[in-house]
Symmetry: C2
Subunit: 360 residues, 2 copies
Amino acid sequence: MDRNVTRLRGRLAQLGPELRPHLKTCKSPEAARRVMTTAAGPATVSTLKEAEEFAAAGVTDITYAVGITPDKLDRVLALRGAGVDLAVTLDTVVQAQAVAEASRRAGAAIPALIEIDCDGHRSGVLPHDRERLLAIAGALTEAGTLRGVLTHAGDSYGARGDAALRACAEGERASAVAAATILREAGYECPVVSVGSTPTAHFAENLDGVTEVRAGVFVFFDLVMAGIGVCAVDDIAVSVLATVIGHQQEKGWILVDAGWMAMSRDRGTSKQALDQGYGLVCDIDGAPLADLIMVDANQEHGILALRPGSGAVLPDLPIGTRLRILPNHACATGAQHDRYHVLRSDSRDVEAVWPRFGGW
Amino acid sequence: MDRNVTRLRGRLAQLGPELRPHLKTCKSPEAARRVMTTAAGPATVSTLKEAEEFAAAGVTDITYAVGITPDKLDRVLALRGAGVDLAVTLDTVVQAQAVAEASRRAGAAIPALIEIDCDGHRSGVLPHDRERLLAIAGALTEAGTLRGVLTHAGDSYGARGDAALRACAEGERASAVAAATILREAGYECPVVSVGSTPTAHFAENLDGVTEVRAGVFVFFDLVMAGIGVCAVDDIAVSVLATVIGHQQEKGWILVDAGWMAMSRDRGTSKQALDQGYGLVCDIDGAPLADLIMVDANQEHGILALRPGSGAVLPDLPIGTRLRILPNHACATGAQHDRYHVLRSDSRDVEAVWPRFGGW
């Protein structure tokens, strides 16, 4: 984990923008402190619960990067009133009007970022939709503040190969800068140009015009990121501890007491070149066992077997053997647990327990 | 929910066996009280955490239906010492020896059920494997107690049509009774013959020789169960409340603030005749909106769109509109939340909040 954080910080130190890590992956104040540049932020969150939890832990510079709804603005104002510089995200005039109206009522301008759709992945304004950008900015600045623009190259998760990933990163950068330029030419200040995803953050070659990079899953990495080529399997810093509970020898199955409740239902590697099932199986020290994956999962049962087509020999793992399973998706697997057991790479001793939270 | 419980109780009252509901679905003492026959049980659990939580809430008759490991026996003994009749499950001689050894050390026999593999789905001893059944029973009864046999027709989730479901139920019954007969003929008492899954519990026509039925998801039901034909969509008693946060009009998308973190990554209907995406969208009162499903999900974003091939018109759902999303899999979606907001069918008022727990 420390190595992953150091690596991305080093990249961004060379490229220029600030790191605003997305804390939706770890959802843990103790982990967040090791990811953020300072104990007060900057940080990105995906829920107001995260904003409230991290604010309570001393984080004061937070961007809530999911589109705001009018009914959430009271919680936003409460946090801002408590000294947290919480910015919201929006992509419609209706939301901008609601933010302006809440700002007017409170007598305190709420800062908002306009979300830009850089790759058709999800939400956001098209980067060259001048009319919509200016309508949103106009409605917002009636009483709120335009903090800047924000985009996320969600399609980078499906990109394959260094060239495609570099193209995603450049598309993300260019879209955000183009939208910011339109707003600035119309007289809006637009100080923040925020981009980011873990793949693009690690493949961007040029971040000219970008002021900050958001990335989340890089803190732990996972099998999906290894499949994209953003990390090696050895960089994956989170695993699920499981115990062998049985065998079906004729079928080549080993059963463990970790099923989808422990791993999550995420099958993110199913569309990649190397399908890892519900996870890649390692020994207790974290060394992968050749071609052994969790091929199926029930709620509290995992079925381990050799990858289809493997020439490896099924290892002899008696009942009671403890294993570590690397997850497809660190955000999803983490969400199934309420704490991290923290180990150094070369030790089996639990050095600390970091609670994590969930909810909204 | 009450109707679902009443329905299964009525079925079993006619067929004879006792209901031992599986509490892994609700993980809530308040919900469990409405599912169990009495406040003390009987009940089934999938983790020792569930056993401990329900024991603390007054449940004293519990079967832990996932294969036991030696390192968990101290927690089993602690619960038994506190007056909880907790039985464990196993399918190997190694586990039986560990249970006998722990019983001997504690001076108190731990009761165990031998798991039977009725359909090749997961774990268990083949029902006619006399040699293995007697070896396990022999090792166990050195100091432990043979409580009986237990099986689960996991393949019933993939069965289609009433005839196939009835066949699954009969296979489950016959396998458990066959194994119990072998054990009894060898002189073992084997008082309990436990079968169950929600589909087979609702399609069994004859449960002769069975003493108890386990079922879990029937309490809430879900889209997978509706797809199998075990319930109607209107029987689904759990939903996720979401709010519209945006639109991509050209694409026919409506964005909501509930993604896979709220719905889970479960895509259980993807293999069924009617793929429901990440969930079926209803209005605030729970009435389904024609052909509107969650077609894709990010962590905190859900993308709603009409089912592919639908002739329906996309409804006009402005920003801030509240919706209810019915889940593919109630166990998986419930696990993403720490409480239930309880409503009567004809009301929008939250009548109670029932906490639910997670973990192991």
